[in-house]
């Protein structure tokens, strides 16, 4: 068809700048591309309006427009132009040079071209839309892949567990935004028995931020293990980072060294949000001056220190919390955070939970988290007595018991399923000599242990089973309840301080393990790489005591 119509032809398509980047320049098969120069038609060229208002075959020689495109087309030897219009939009132009036979185009030729344009325009439009969609899909996949990589880097490098130090409690939470930011935190065991605590935030998001975070963390760790001064650690890290960090990126960071024996806390700050120190008289900001890392070498970092008395706690946090917005576009803000820290706040992990609940109430249910939120809390424990005889050791079969399994089953990790475990256990042990009171105690202990596994171990992931096994010996019944989490350490069972809870100084929660311990004759806890197991043992009644 092209040969019969003329020796010059070309389809020019109009594309947005984004399409120009994302898609090839023509829908024409590579092998059939002409070698004529491409003529771009500017969107504000008068010829565009003319093509839109006068569809059909246009004889270029007869046009009298002041148009650069028209001049270019004529210069290229074009005689006819056939606008391709779809839904009121000019999506391309079919241009033809002189007829090969040297005759003028006939009315049949024009009718044919007009018909061709009518049919080609919608087809071309569909092709453009498909290509646009493909490009957008590919771009989305690229972004998702980048986010996956960024999440992976970050989650790999964040600590898997919090430190376990006598008289100190630690809790940390990292809640990534969809577009992963560059938050990080770390606990560094120092050679002299002290503990390094680190929180930081890289400007930017995604893979670049994650890579800078990884680099910064490595440099900081290495410096922390060689130097004893927090200010020097930040100074050294800054000098090394300046050579490696991309332009326009920097890192805010707070580094502190805690002496667990004395409560002494030394700290230096590279432009990070000021930590809050909650003590008996109120809440104080831990201030120390210093520029963010990576901006310029040779910076000095002021070093300060304080002492954490028993009951004192410190909150380290990233700006994702204070810069969260509510539906009225108001920021959560520092004053609100400080007020919450000074109010009747619970302790330890309860502080984090309390803050996140307050944040959720303030932002509302429709909130999409704008930035990563990282919270680290550490507290000098008040003098609460740990349960002295709570065995947290490998499960060992007591020699006096020859256990036989009565039943074993799995339940899905969904809230409320602990009632199923209770019922099933009571059915299984129905034939054993257990008093009504003993059975009720066992049922409640089973429910609490199961709930613990569902909530804390399996984190309500329904696909992760809670494994329940009921065993009996001649003198006792045992129930073993196992979750699928070997990473998170089980919280320590402590005697709850009811006075502190009633005074609002501690979370009202935290009764589960304590109840279990007090309801059965023996509770054993064990952990391996993939599971926590709680074993509950109840002695059977003598025959004449059973009810």
């Amino acid at each position: 068809m092209t040969a019969r119509l003329g020796n010059w032809w070309r389809i020019f398509t109009r594309r947005s700048p984004r399409e120009r980047q994302a898609a090839p320049t023509s829908v024409v098969d590579e092998t059939r591309r002409p070698t004529s120069p491409v003529i771009d038609i500017s969107p504000d060229d008068p010829i565009v309006q003319y093509f839109l208002s006068a569809p059909g075959v246009v004889e270029l020689d007869k046009l009298t427009l002041q148009s650069r495109a028209l001049d270019a087309l004529r210069a290229a030897g074009m005689r006819l132009a056939v606008p391709l219009v779809s839904q009121g939009e000019l999506i391309g132009v079919l241009n033809l040079g002189a007829r090969l036979s040297a005759q003028d185009y006939s009315s049949d030729d024009r009718a044919l071209l007009s018909n061709l344009a009518t049919q080609a325009a919608p087809a071309l439009r569909v092709a453009q839309l498909v290509r646009q969609q493909q490009a957008e899909l590919a771009a989305r996949e690229r972004i998702e892949n980048e986010l996956r990589v960024a999440r992976l880097i970050q989650q790999t490098l964040l600590p898997k567990q919090v430190p376990d130090l006598l008289n100190w409690t630690f809790a940390a939470r990292y809640q990534p935004a969809r577009a992963v930011g560059g938050d990080f935190y770390d606990f560094i065991e120092l050679p002299d028995g002290k503990l390094g605590l680190l929180i930081g935030d890289v400007t930017d998001k995604g893979v670049p931020a994650a890579l800078v975070m990884a680099t910064t963390r490595s440099i900081l760790r290495a410096a922390a293990l060689r130097m004893v001064s927090p200010g020097e650690v930040l100074g050294r890290t800054n000098d090394l980072l300046c050579g490696d960090i991309p332009p326009n990126m920097f890192v805010t960071c707070l580094y502190a060294i805690l002496d667990p024996a004395t409560g002494r806390l030394q700290y230096a700050n590279a432009g990070h949000d000021l930590p809050y120190h909650r003590h008996a008289e109120g809440v104080a900001e831990l201030r120390a001056r210093g520029m963010p890392l990576g901006l310029m070498p040779g910076m000095l970092y002021e070093e300060k220190e304080t002492v954490l008395a028993p009951g004192d706690s410190v909150l380290l946090y990233s700006d994702g919390l204070v810069e969260a917005h509510n539906p009225r576009r108001e920021m959560f803000g520092f004053p609100r955070l400080r007020e919450l820290m000074g109010g009747p706040t619970p302790t330890g992990d309860g502080i984090i939970e309390h803050l996140l609940v307050e944040l959720a109430q303030w932002t509302g249910s429709e909130w999409e988290q704008e930035d990563d939120i990282t919270l680290v809390v550490f507290q000098h424990a008040a003098q609460t007595a740990a349960l002295p005889d709570l065995p947290v050791a490998e499960l060992k079969e007591p020699p006096m018991h020859q256990w036989r399994t009565l039943a074993a089953w799995n339940i899905a990790s969904e809230a409320g399923n602990e009632r199923m475990a209770m019922r099933r256990v009571s059915e299984v042990v129905a034939g054993l000599n257990i008093s009504t009171r003993g059975l009720q105690r066992l049922q409640t202990a089973v429910a609490e242990a199961t709930m613990n596994a569902i909530e804390h171990g399996n984190k309500f992931r329904a696909e992760l089973p809670v494994e329940v096994e009921v065993l009996a010996s001649d003198s006792a019944v045992a129930v073993r309840i196992r979750d699928q989490d070997g990473q998170t350490p089980l919280p320590e069972a402590q005697v709850p301080d009811l006075e502190a809870k009633l005074a609002g100084l501690q979370t009202p929660r935290g009764w589960g393990l304590f109840l279990i311990k007090n309801l059965v004759d023996e509770m054993n806890v064990s952990s391996d790489d993939a599971h926590h197991t709680i074993e509950l043992i109840l002695q059977l009644e003598e025959d004449d005591h059973a009810s």
């Binding site: 009632r419 009171r437 609002g504 009202p508 929660r509 007090n518």
Partner: protein, 119 residues
Amino acid sequence: MPANTFRAVLRRLTSVAIIDLDGEINADAEDVLNTTYAQAAATDARTILLNFAAVDYINSTGIALIVGILAQARKANRELLACGLSEHYVEIFEITRLADFMSIFASEEDALAGVSTKT
């Protein structure tokens, strides 16, 4: 699992506000329990009686909710009483020491009569 149909109904008798609790006291009971307690606290009653006669299950989260209510009551200088607990849950209240901070009566009548003997 079927949804928890926990209910709490506020009654007022002379100077005592009575909250009749019905169902399971677990995490799902939080809103209903706290709302009803707030209604009771909005009255001028100095004594609030929690009636557990129709409660068949309280888990550790439920215990925490009761601790929260007890904390509110103490802060406002209100007396919080309990009645109708089964033997098992009386034992739980003793283990948790809630019984040290709220008087427990066998029945509503006992509580209202001001019987001081704890069950």
